[in-house]
């Protein structure tokens, strides 16, 4: 009887010792068999984020306090330098303002001339970024607006300056948006006035790179990059950024919108997502 109990205990101890190995095997199996972008996984992710986002945003608060404190001190130190830069910038902006006014008048006249009608398909939602999450293999933002607020998958995200990403997952109250800097982001674009066709590919740095469809093409520094509208995910001719670094193989693009430190986003539905199959959205 005693030996039986002893044997059972020994077996139990051995199982306990082997349990980590079993879990290592299970984890390996999951890694090999389950695609992280499969619909079921995406659904679980969205549900989990619904619950975890409030916790994470509370956890993040002290970090934000420290960050804003250090930024305040930094601003104080560099006030004089910033002031000179701002004056210079202001002068430049005044020139642009004049130019914009001229163009606006021209635009109104042309619209009247061609009897142009504004599309009423465009819908806009303002949302707060509650979380900027990411790591080695990606980066995304969680915004406090979901199905309840009318957010749809594929809506484009704009900061104060310009376009920087699109909605990939929509939950009940929260949605996740993928910036153009993410590994998974491939945006069809035109480069420069010659409209060279390329893809803007994210690699988790602040500056995504260009991959031309024609290998002979190249980009020059300060060339403007704008959406081509190819595949219908992004409307055409939306300015995205400018070529910052000339590199024959992969020129880097500095986005017009600085995605670090964004607090609010404008989510705009151009009515394009309705025309697309869900598989098309998944693949981009």
């Amino acid at each position: 009887m005693e030996s039986k109990v002893f044997r059972l205990k020994r077996i139990r101890a051995q199982i306990r010792r082997l349990l980590p190995l079993f879990f290592l095997f299970v984890a390996l199996l999951i890694m090999v068999l389950v695609r992280s972008d499969s619909p079921a996984v995406t659904e679980i992710r969205t549900i989990l984020w619904e619950y975890i986002t409030p916790v994470v945003s509370v956890v993040k608060r002290p970090v934000l306090w420290i960050k804003s404190g250090t930024e305040g001190v930094k601003d104080l130190i560099f006030t004089y330098q910033n002031n000179i830069e701002l004056k210079q910038e202001n002068q430049d902006l005044k020139k642009w303002q004049l130019q914009a006014l001229k163009l606006q008048t021209e635009n109104i006249e042309l619209k009247r001339h061609f009897n142009y009608k504004i599309s009423n398909k465009v819908k806009e939602i303002m949302a707060e970024i509650v979380l900027d999450e990411g790591g080695e293999f990606g980066r995304s933002f969680v915004v406090q607006a979901g199905r309840e607020q009318g957010v749809k998958k594929g809506m484009l995200a704009f900061g104060p300056v310009g376009l920087f990403g699109r909605i990939t997952h929509v939950g009940k109250k929260y949605s996740r948006l993928m910036p153009m800097t993410d590994y998974m982001s491939h945006v069809p674009v035109y480069v420069g006035q010659e409209k060279k066709v390329a893809f803007l590919i994210g690699d988790n740095t602040d500056r995504p790179y260009l991959q031309f469809t024609d290998e002979k093409e190249y980009a020059q520094k300060n060339d403007i990059v704008f959406s081509s509208g190819y595949m219908g995910i992004y409307p055409s001719n939306l300015p995205i950024g400018r070529v910052d670094q000339e590199n024959e193989n992969a020129p880097r693009v500095l986005l017009f919108e600085n995605i670090n430190g964004l607090t609010f986003v404008r989510l705009i539905d151009f009515g394009l997502t309705e025309n697309l199959l869900s598989e098309d959205l998944e693949s981009l």
Binding site: A27, V34, I52, V63, E133, G135, F137, M178
Partner: protein, 168 residues
């Protein structure tokens, strides 16, 4: 009766709640370099600590679950990668538990750094095979350095809280 229940709850669930908090911290990216965003896996310190000093409350199943939770919360992460890494850390600490249990704080820190090096190498290679992406050395090095650097602080706080939950 109620206080006893609360005491037991605190004692048994403190490691899990504490670990979940570190999972949440882990998914917030830190901007350490100008262009890079990365998250530091401080949770590995917590797993190492509880594998040695509280494995009856934080077992391998929970560690595996925490790993999966991190995988689900990280954008575009490979599902199962963090679960694998967390279980490896737990397994290694458990394997040498009898030897490590009596070591001093500083010695444990050194051992953790060595274990972390091994775990990070496994992580880089697994990421390479599953995603075809190489993690840049600076990325990897900073992650390693920061996790090891923060070890004393995290262990100190964890130990204090652990003792407190025991004494309540």
């Amino acid at each position: 009766m109620k206080t006893k229940l609360l005491k037991n709850f605190l004692y048994y669930f403190f490691p899990i709640l504490w670990a979940i908090l570190f999972v949440c911290i882990g998914v917030i990216p830190t901007r350490l370099f100008q262009n890079f965003h990365q998250n530091i896996p401080f949770i590995l310190v917590v797993i190492f600590y509880f594998a040695l000093f509280g494995s009856n409350r934080l077992n391998v199943l929970i560690v595996f679950g925490l790993g999966l939770l991190t995988d689900f919360l990280s954008p575009s992460a490979i599902l199962g990668l963090n679960a694998f890494i967390y279980v490896i850390m737990f397994f290694m600490a458990q394997l040498f538990k009898s030897y490590l249990y009596n070591l001093s704080f500083c010695h444990l820190w050194i051992i953790f750094c060595i274990l972390m090096l091994f775990v990070d190498i496994v992580w880089v290679w697994l990421a390479r095979f599953t995603t075809n992406l190489w993690v840049t050395p600076s990325f990897w090095f900073v992650q390693y350095l920061f996790t090891c650097m923060f070890y004393p602080i995290i262990v100190w706080i964890t130990a204090k809280l652990n003792l407190y939950t025991k004494d309540v």
